[in-house]
Symmetry: C2
Subunit: 140 residues, 2 copies
């Protein structure tokens, strides 16, 4: 009843959802947090206030994003995209990615205002996907 999810289904799930759980490791200790993202069909884009988790990912860029769709305890699908943390610093790309994030999350105005004031505490980054695994469980 638990079976691997095919690549296409896994990518479709990444495209359909809008938040997941970002995982990173700091000194061998895992850290997991909920985060909004968008998926451009290739990589995953996120943004965050600078802080502990950004420092952790700069130090160890191996990260993952887990995304799931849980109907109930026995009917769910879960995908993990593993890859590398990469900061988007090039101004044009950063603006384009923020626009895409804001398009999906139109209420992020406070962040947008801070961005447009040029404050640097908002970090835009991608998870450059190296591999994707997925599983699903279905009972009827």
């Amino acid at each position: 009843m638990i079976e691997p999810l095919g690549k296409e289904d896994a990518r479709a799930l990444l495209g359909a959802q809008r938040y997941g759980r970002l995982g990173c490791c700091h000194d061998g200790e895992p850290y997991v947090l909920p985060i909004n993202y968008f998926y451009n069909g290739e990589d995953l884009y996120m943004h965050s206030l600078a802080g502990l988790k950004i420092r952790a990912m700069r130090e160890n860029p191996q990260i993952c994003l887990q995304v799931d769709e849980v109907t109930d305890d026995y009917n769910w699908r879960s995908v993990i995209a593993f890859g590398e943390y990469e900061e988007i610093t090039e101004p044009e790309e950063r603006e384009r990615m923020m626009a895409s994030l804001l398009q999906r999350f139109p209420h992020l105005t406070p962040v947008e205002s801070r961005m447009s004031q040029g404050e640097d505490e908002i970090v835009v980054f991608r998870l450059r996907i190296k591999r994707i695994t997925g599983v699903s469980e279905h009972w009827q």
Copy 2:
């Protein structure tokens, strides 16, 4: 609008929810997966088929469980319990913990049957909590 969650609220959230995301690190790479748990007011109890993640946690017992309650993108609470992976091998304790898990998840019969047949591929473990952190975001 984003603020730390007090210890009591954090523990209350752990007690109220029944599944979270387990994080572990294997060779510096994070792994995150959805998992059912129960919280006895002190530690977190889970079970899993033996496999990659069990091997990873045996190797590096620093793990975490992230639990959240998301109303929408701007109203959510999230808790992370950090601690150590400990397998429950003592038969009586293992039976008691499985009973508690089954009480909360009465449909886990197939697992229970496998357990009662003495098959050893089901691992019961606790996350012995060392520290808990939590944040909440509220907009009106």
